[in-house]
Subunit: 320 residues, 4 copies
């Protein structure tokens, strides 16, 4: 299904020092960070890797657990659990597939959330609704079944009688639209409405274009600054918001510099260039105008529509 990994692993095997160079490449996926390590089978200290492949459903689930500070440093990501669901038909027209992937996503959200049934949950759809590949979060919120106001109006019994969770939702927009950090807005809303759990939905940047619109990452760490996204949106996690935060993301873009760098690096490694030379060349590239560019598939509108619908369904299933 996903042949990007092989390429990357081969590449990282070619030279010992490449880890450093590669780690500079932006990715929001813990899975892709893990793949940059030299040897796939050897365990990195403080990081546990578990893979699960359901051949019938064609869904692969990888769990990366970062257990301690050592693992966090090696991975460049905070301590916590990162679940990656890979399903090649995620963004495609395929009714028969809708159901199993929805269930799978719901299962892992529940796993990380603990008893979600009666919990007050705030779902935050991050991203810019005006830029197609970044509209995932707002689109998920659009299709969400929101119920918190029923409690305010009719009491908790109403929710209980109708087997409804307590769900509120917001699409805060991006800093260029609001002039505010997403973290500022969400912190304010959380303090005012006191949910027990925040679920942030966001479009992610992957390193490999083969993963776009085929992967869902769910983590109990929230979103941390500099974790790959490349914009200085401040942290959205338990520390910053004061409540548990689950982040659910789907890679929908690759940084333009990344696809160029990857190809260049691969070529230069093959030509026998040293890591230093490669690093020099690629950092020059990164400094250029490519920096604020992203790569995305031409049919991104269809993918976003389907995936956001699938995620909304999964969330609706969680809270019912």
């Amino acid at each position: 299904m996903d042949n990007s990994k092989d390429t990357e692993i081969k590449q990282t095997k070619a030279t010992k020092g490449s880890i450093t160079a590669l780690n500079k490449v932006r990715t929001d996926l813990a899975l892709e960070v893990r793949e940059t390590f030299k040897d796939d089978d050897v365990e990195i200290k403080g990081v546990i890797l578990k893979e699960d492949y359901d051949k019938k459903k064609n869904i692969k689930v990888t769990t990366v657990e970062i257990k301690d500070q050592k693992g966090a440093e090696a991975m460049g990501k905070p301590i916590g659990t990162y679940i990656t669901i890979e399903a090649s038909r995620l963004g495609q027209e395929d009714e028969s597939f809708h159901e199993p992937i929805t269930k799978e996503i719901a299962k892992y959200i529940k796993m990380l959330a603990g008893d979600i049934d009666r919990k007050e949950v705030l779902v935050a759809g991050l991203g810019n609704r005006e830029v197609t590949p970044d509209a995932l979060g707002p689109q998920v919120v659009n299709n969400l079944f929101v119920t918190r106001h029923f409690k305010q109006e009719f009491g908790q019994e109403f929710l209980d009688d109708h087997h409804m969770g307590n769900v509120s939702a917001i699409s805060p927009g991006v800093m260029a639209q609001t002039g505010m950090e997403t973290s500022e807005i969400l912190r304010g809303v959380v303090r005012e409405t006191m949910p027990k759990l925040v679920i942030v939905i966001d479009a992610l940047a992957a390193r490999s274009i083969t993963r776009l619109n085929k992967t869902v990452q769910i983590t109990d760490t929230g979103i941390s600054p500099g974790s790959g996204v490349g914009n200085n949106r401040k942290a959205l996690n338990k520390e910053s918001l004061g409540v548990d935060v689950i982040a659910l993301g789907v890679p929908t873009v690759v940084d333009a510099a990344t696809i160029v760098n990857d190809t260049m690096e691969q070529f230069m490694l093959g030509q026998g260039f040293s890591d230093k030379e490669i690093g020099q060349f690629t950092s020059e590239l990164a400094g250029q105008s490519m920096n604020n560019m992203f790569v995305t598939p031409k049919n991104i509108d269809e993918s976003i529509k389907r995936i956001s619908f699938t995620i909304s369904e999964a969330l609706n299933k969680c809270f019912a």
Copy 2:
């Protein structure tokens, strides 16, 4: 330009007690409340009325000042200043008109806001972006020039050097989308980001269809519950948000019950029915399915596009 007033005044003159009946009719416009009073020229205690008509620009400005609690009770609106700008071409394709009306709106916002130049301002675009006549607020925010993040990144000097105000903005959505009161969201955001002034933009309900998309109301009272909107959105004012609040609204809908009631009432008055009979009949109507219905013009999309652009321009002018 606007012949609705005459009709209404005639109607209210016909019978002494009609005020009671009429006051039940929903309107968000202080101007329309004022018009329901029996005699247009006689001053109501605690309420000052001032009219200004610029024939050349074809813009009429009415200022209703509610000075004390007595006036507030008579008007059913809080103490404060209500400026109504009536311009029949507000929602129309008319480039030559764009400039003067923009200037007029900016002038009155500045008047109510005091020295706005260096003030931190949060603009909140209320309403549901998915329902055309309710999308005014979100559309205004879409076209707004937001600058607060420049200060966070480059310092106050940057704003000063570029003659920029400090503007942040949010479109919080409506309760059916978020499960939260708008007041909860804004209170949270205000506490976190500490603006000195909040400007809320909202689509309003008028009583007369002849006023739709032709009127801008600007008030320093913010928005108060039960002030005519008909949904129990809680207050957005200095008391609830902790900072000064200016509300800018444009009537884009009339409640369906209102247009029926008005016609009925007019007819029944003519037929010699008593106020009690009229009240009984119209309250029966109001209890029916018409309750969650609104009336709006067929070309509402064009009007919303133009008016939201005009208001954004006026706001951008204020902060530059």
Copy 3:
């Protein structure tokens, strides 16, 4: 479920001549025209009425067949079959209901279309996508599974192998956006691409607000000018397009004048006014500014989203 009918029937029974007055009221539903006739059980010449109520599914299907010119004149609608599916939960959040109503719609489209399996079909989503209650047609097209280009690229075998029909689609926009009649655009596209059947999807005007977003009308007559819509969009039918035309519509608005007129008429009838007096009064009302106004529910965005999805599903089912 729908108590509007009773009211209207009672009303029409009250006086013999009311038919004339009532017929002036705008409706796009054959069912509502039929209801204006004095006696519900007596057959009008040339018009056959059949009702079918599935209690378990809570779906009522009414078939109005206009058999000859006499019936056409009485009804003010062209000869043909008008199927009305009434389902009170059509526009509501209700997953379990999605399936039966989808099947019902698909069944009647197939019935009117004949063998649709291998037919080339053009679906036209009429209406203005920028005005929420008018966006039904464009939204249906958005969710449609379009396949015609697969044949052009891979041949008919491809469609056969994948059990796909041959479906093309267009959202032509409205005259204020295009400067062209919808009929001009569709005639051009039909001549160029030669489908065997055109299905037009459109938002309709009902007479009763209780029918809004709860009714689907399917007819093999296409859309004819002056059939209630009130804008002079020219005919979309076999005569004008040269191929069979099925029209599928959902009432999402009521003309503002209609709800006022209806209430007035009901009241005046009760007060013993003559038909002539009533006609005079209501025609005066109609001449006023209310003319270009429509009435629609406040939650119209949710209804349009759900109904358009249901209709797309029904169409996708038809062509698979």
Copy 4:
């Protein structure tokens, strides 16, 4: 302003044979094709180049005239005039700049269109409104002042009296949405409504990311298949539509393969690889998954909003 050219020229000067390799790279801009030729100042047979730089306005206009078949073959583009307006602030927030660039665009449209005043013009906004960088065409149509229906309703005198041109417009959508070629739809509409001129607006693919959202290309050749766009949309030109066609395009994306290929080629040329080796490597890359990917700036929503508004204004100016 635009340093991409220098880079490319240096690169093409480095080796004689590079033209072949470079020409394979996709671009919709005649200007960029011209730049790939070895020597910038030497005239290619059958191709005339004229540059015009207005320092004060910071607008550069380049006219490429392909005079004969020889030039057409060398350029890989049909005989005709290609005007490129480069303005670095085209997609930026800049009120003072709006006016001059609007005038410039209007000037060149008029130049290519001849006497446009009373001409019936159909503006076609190509592209997918759901994918931000491809939404340019539909957005331009959204802001266009359409008038053709006024003539149908009130006669030519109405247009004359109001100094209006005769403008119709359509956003036909893309093949994945309609199942039809854009050329089929437009041919049908043209035959039915008989405009004298068609102006197609489209988002283009550039070769250099530095040109994105800074360049407008206007040509009297229409759009021809394989002219760089990479999708087999059939021709939109005088031959296919039967009337004059002006194409106005703005590069908003770069093909992902292009930016990788360009960087690789530049690097490999520097390393002394032969053209053959370079060609082999880059064609391997092109065969990979990158093929259906595009590169676009992160703030593409803002750019599309501003540019589409500017182009609409320019068109409105032309027809008034």
